[in-house]
């Protein structure tokens, strides 16, 4: 019967054409271009190398004096939660894949703007263990996104790949695939950041210089399985996010 309803709806639409079109447009713009709508609250991820905007395939020098280029940077943000000044909480249970090769993934329309002062935000980097044991999922969690391990099941929470002359590896490459959903190597990390402001857009900076300031690429350049190294990198990955 839904088809019949749909047709009747179409008829209605003709009568109230203008109203419906406005409604439809506002709906689609909310989901597609959330940041420009006064009515929506969005999250913008701003990748940086120290004070500068970060770009893939660009040469940087780390505090460890490693000259490096990052060719791929992808990570999941899950369970995004906003705590307002009046202690009400708004949460988005979904997992979002941020991929610097796809700039549109750095902007997430989270919710309607409640126009209340935001006390703090918290979120997780990575995907929870339930998703890692649930088989083939869809959308941002689709296995074709290249964020799932093969011979050992589980999502990769964060993937950083690149090259550096410090790495005596094939093609001087380094590969950090940070993940692991089973204890004692559970690599998802929760982050809480205070805000205390009224905002229409939350600007979250992720600073890659901070990540490489604690890694000596000559010694550590390939972490692609869960374990102690992945746990150390997961701890490090939770220190590179901040709000300006």
């Amino acid at each position: 019967m839904s088809f019949l309803n749909y047709l009747l709806e179409l008829e209605n639409l003709k009568m109230k054409k203008s109203f419906h079109i406005i409604y439809f447009l506002s709906l689609s713009s909310f989901s597609l271009f959330g940041q420009n709508e006064i009515d929506s609250l969005s999250l913008k991820i701003n990748p940086k190398w120290s004070v500068n905007n970060f770009k893939l395939n660009t040469t940087y020098i780390s505090k460890q004096k490693d000259t490096l280029k990052i060719t791929q940077f992808k990570f999941y943000i899950s369970d995004f939660q906003i705590t307002y000044e009046d202690n009400t909480i708004l949460s988005d249970k979904k997992s979002h894949l941020i991929d610097l090769e796809k700039p549109n993934t750095t902007l997430l329309a989270i919710t309607k703007n409640n126009k209340k002062e935001i006390k703090s935000i918290n979120f997780s980097i990575g995907v929870d263990s339930l998703a890692s044991v649930s088989g083939a999922l869809s959308g941002d969690l689709d296995l074709s996104n290249g964020m799932y391990w093969a011979w050992q099941s589980g999502y990769i929470n964060m993937k950083i790949e690149g090259t550096s002359s410090s790495c005596k590896t094939r093609k001087n490459s380094f590969n950090f695939h940070i993940g692991g959903y089973l204890n004692p190597y559970y690599a998802m990390r929760k982050i809480e950041i205070p805000i205390n402001k009224l905002q229409n857009q939350i600007n979250l900076t992720v600073d890659l210089e901070r990540f490489f300031s604690e890694i000596n690429l000559k010694e550590m350049n390939s972490v692609m399985i869960p374990g102690n190294d992945a746990m150390a990198l997961a701890n490090l990955s939770s220190k590179i996010f901040y709000i300006e």
């Binding site: 083939a136 093969a150 011979w151």
Partner: protein, 339 residues
């Protein structure tokens, strides 16, 4: 008013077409023998249909899954041998490269909790990504497989039939493969018929069954002929492979040299045996358990005492193992290369 009536009729017509096409969405139900445990696979999350099964079957037999379109799932998993390969110890992949393990059989997978010799894969739906991305097997990415399928008219059509969408995704590709894999059930061997009181064992098979229950069923548990766990069965480690098995996954030294206990169904045809295919015949396998077990820290406690079977008993045990052959499975046309 006339318009409204017209729309009403049109709506009815469309509703009719939709419900008619829905009736072509044919559900499949897997037959489960009465004394069997409940399957592990959650069919509610991937309801089996004839269309989904057929799509999975096409994918299983199609080398489009590999980087250079040369290797399909069936390259290493042949139906007539219980969906494993024969002849060579270790499995071969793309450009003639050789892996480090002997491919497992694909039988009654709906009852498996985990997959691979080391149990590294935790769900049937994500299993296929392992051979697809392995550098020595298919050396491809799931993303690229999806791109190739999306460009193929045949597959766009098959996906639409199975899932009502022309947009092919990694999820749907993997779920279709699972639909084929969970359908590979073998429940009609002479052993099964004996259990169901439909057929008699010979005296030799009967004696072999008694020996089997005495010496083997703590790991090769009936009716699936596996307990779905991991064991060190006392095989000396091969120096050039240095395969630690389950420990690679858990990084726990208690799991050193532990491998999956495989099902023994159709064991007559699934040679060579063991994770590295070191034994060519059942006689060699039984000889190993009889007197070849090597003691080590993680050896399965059931194997501390050798079996010590005499020549007659060993022959009887082999006779029983051959009752696990299910020709209605090995030669079932519905699992064969799609025509």
């Amino acid at each position: 008013m006339k318009k409204i009536v017209l729309i009403f009729v049109l709506g009815f017509l469309i509703f009719g077409i939709v419900s008619f096409s829905k009736s072509h969405f044919a559900p499949i139900y897997i037959e489960i023998p009465t004394n069997w445990p409940k399957p592990v696979y959650d069919f509610k999350k991937n309801p089996l249909t004839e269309e989904g099964f057929q799509l999975g079957r096409h994918l299983f037999y199609d080398p489009i899954l590999s980087k250079d379109n040369t290797i399909s799932c069936s390259s290493c998993h042949l139906q007539a041998t219980g969906f494993t390969h024969v002849d060579h110890e270790l499995s071969h992949g793309i450009e003639g490269k050789i892996g480090t393990r002997n491919s497992l059989t694909l039988q009654n997978l709906a009852w498996s909790k985990n997959f691979m010799w080391d149990g590294g894969v935790n769900h049937l739906d994500v299993q296929a990504i392992t051979p697809i991305t392995s550098e020595v097997e298919m050396n491809e990415t799931l993303e690229n497989v999806v791109n190739k399928l999306q460009k193929s008219e045949k597959y766009v059509d098959l996906f639409e039939k199975a899932f009502r969408t022309k947009k092919i995704t990694g999820q749907l590709t993997l779920k279709a493969i699972s639909q084929f894999l969970v359908s590979l059930t073998t429940t009609n061997s002479k052993y099964d018929k004996f259990i169901r009181n439909e057929e008699e064992f010979t005296e030799m098979e009967q004696k072999g069954y008694a020996l089997f229950q005495n010496h083997c069923t703590s790991c090769h548990k009936e009716p699936l002929l596996t307990n779905n766990e991991f064991r060190n069965n006392g095989l000396p480690m091969v120096a050039d492979l240095k395969d630690l098995g389950r420990m690679k996954i858990t990084q726990n030294s208690k799991d050193s040299l532990l491998f999956k206990v495989p099902t023994l169904r159709n064991i007559e045809f699934t040679f060579p045996y063991m994770h590295d295919g070191r034994f060519k015949t059942l006689t060699e396998v039984i000889k190993h358990y009889n007197s070849g077990v090597q003691k080590s820290r993680t050896l399965s406690k059931e194997l501390h005492q050798p079996m010590n079977l005499n020549d007659n008993e060993r022959t009887e045990l082999v006779a029983f193992l051959k009752t696990l052959t299910d020709k209605t499975f090995l030669f079932n046309k519905k699992y064969a290369y799609p025509k």
